[in-house]
């Protein structure tokens, strides 16, 4: 599978937190979710990919062509949006439009206005525009997304785009992702981070699970759903089942956990029932597993 962005041996060290070593390959033509708890390193990784900060060690490859995150050619092709406070707080939509026009070759003002309309926020054409600091988090994110979508890009790298949006808007965002992928016909890709995958599940093809600065698991969602099972059983069998479970919770009535599908036969012999996970239950199981290993 061709990759849009890949990395090897990526490390970013801070005094209290270390990201890495990370090696991964994000497939081209799909929508990839970076899933992890708060503080897992998702934002740090995205910031490195977009050149906001620079890795201490390791290499990144963009589009199979360049390995320089500062290369203007790479940045023209990357549509990046940070989680909060992406724009200066005193900026109005018209300032955003002017700045994007100055900074990028392929920004389309009319498209920006249209997208603002679709996402329900004021554009640079509105008579009375409010500065960013007067907007809610959700409206700020919508304005930023409209600006990023108004550029002609080959990959979108969005940090927590859905977190501040209401369910209706999140659904529209998923539609926008699919539209973008469809328009690229295999050439465009989306990478986004989230700590709540439930609403974005059906716009996710590939998942990268992160915990405590490391990658726990990667893969196409359908394959991962086959690879793991959710197990539920009677509490008296829990001690015997425990060693087969990656993560679990138990009480006096039942136990529940995540296990590799290859162990399903053994678990069923212990009287447990098994089913394939949804992306949401898989996330919870894997993140708990990462938490336990810490």
């Amino acid at each position: 599978m061709e990759s849009i962005i890949s990395a090897s041996g990526l490390v970013k060290s801070y005094s209290k937190f270390t990201l890495g070593q990370l090696s991964f390959s994000i497939p081209k033509g799909f929508s990839t979710a970076l899933i992890g708890a708060n503080g897992a390193g998702k934002t740090t990784l995205i910031d490195i990919l977009c050149g906001v900060i620079h890795a201490s060690e390791g290499k990144i490859n963009y589009f199979g062509e360049s390995s320089d995150p500062d290369s203007p050619a790479v940045r023209e092709r990357v549509g990046y949006c940070a989680a909060a406070g992406f724009f200066p707080t005193n900026w109005k939509p018209k300032n955003i439009a002017s700045s994007f026009e100055i900074a990028y070759k392929n920004f389309d003002r009319e498209k920006f206005a249209r997208l603002c309309g679709e996402l329900g926020v004021e554009s640079h054409l509105a008579k009375k525009q409010l500065p960013m600091y007067k907007l809610s988090d959700g409206n700020r994110m919508r304005t930023a997304l409209a600006a990023v979508f108004a550029r002609e890009t080959d990959v979108l790298i969005l940090d927590e785009p859905g977190s501040s949006l209401d369910p209706l808007m999140r659904d529209r965002l998923c539609d926008k992702f699919r539209e973008y992928l469809d328009r690229g016909d295999g050439e465009k890709s989306v990478i986004f981070s989230t700590h709540n995958i439930a609403d974005m599940e059906n716009a996710t093809d590939y998942a990268v699970f992160m915990g405590n600065g490391k990658i726990i698991e990667t893969g196409f969602v359908d394959d991962l759903k086959e690879k793991y099972i959710i197990v539920r059983g009677d509490p008296e069998k829990f001690p015997a089942a425990r060693e087969l479970l990656l993560s679990y919770s138990s009480n006096s009535t039942t136990f529940e956990g995540l296990a590799y599908a290859e162990n399903s036969e053994k678990l069923r012999l212990l009287g447990a029932v098994t089913e394939h996970p949804t992306l949401q239950t898989l996330s919870v199981g894997l993140l708990k597993y990462a938490e336990g290993k810490r």
């Binding site: 801070y14 900060i53 500062d70 940045r75 992406f86 724009f87 200066p88 100055i102 900074a103």
Partner: protein, 212 residues
């Protein structure tokens, strides 16, 4: 043009500059209408105060510095946008240059208009000196990210400016020509150094990282 565009990318100071220019034009127009009237003497002593108009010229740099302060990694706003742009470093270098050019143009305009009124050029030379000192300070503090330190330096610059202008604004003030010349040269040198410093270090804007 590239320089102005880059300046605009960081700081939307157009309206501010236009208002200042209009204000200054009004003051200058007053001078011409009052010339050869009894009130002209009073106007002239007032115009010395207009040296504080030199300071607004520095404002374009102050505005830029304010933008940087508000969008530093400490503040947590905007810096991700600026840093992720193509040619972020070049844009920033050009923006600083743009701020300096606008400030210098302002100084030149004040000096030119003033020279129409004053017999002695001393006061005007002095405004140029003051302006350059301030510009130098502003350039040197560009990469200071500490809120308190930067704000203190900004306030000091503005306050200091008023003080110096008031103190030397006395008409009786005279100085030997040579001293004035040397001062001018020295200030120009310091200013040039500050400009080189700020331009050489434009990478600090895009690469300096907050410790976690």
């Amino acid at each position: 043009m590239k320089i102005l565009r880059s300046y605009k990318l960081f700081s939307f100071g157009h309206r501010r500059i236009i208002i200042l220019a209009a204000w200054f034009a009004a003051v200058a127009a007053c001078g011409f209408t009052l010339k050869n009237t009894a009130a002209f003497e009073d106007f002239l002593s007032g115009f010395v105060g207009v040296q504080h108009m030199v300071i607004p010229c520095v404002l374009s740099i102050i505005a830029l510095n304010g933008t940087l302060l508000a969008n530093s990694t400490n503040a947590g706003f905007g810096y991700k946008f600026f840093r992720s742009l193509p040619n972020a470093e070049k844009h920033f270098g050009r923006a600083v240059l743009g701020g300096n050019i606008i400030s210098l143009l302002g100084t030149a305009v004040v000096a030119a208009v003033g020279s129409l009124y004053f017999e002695s050029m001393l006061m005007l030379k002095f405004s140029v000196v003051v302006s350059m000192v301030f510009l130098s300070i502003m350039n040197f503090v560009t990469y200071v990210e500490n809120y308190f330190l930067k704000l203190a330096l900004l306030m000091l610059t503005i306050g200091f400016a008023g003080g110096i202008v008031g103190f030397f604004g006395e008409q009786e003030f005279t100085a030997p020509n040579a001293v004035v010349l040397y001062t001018l040269i020295a200030c120009a040198a310091v200013y040039a150094a500050s400009l080189i410093y700020v331009l050489m270090n434009s990478g600090k804007f895009t690469r300096k990282e907050r410790k976690k």
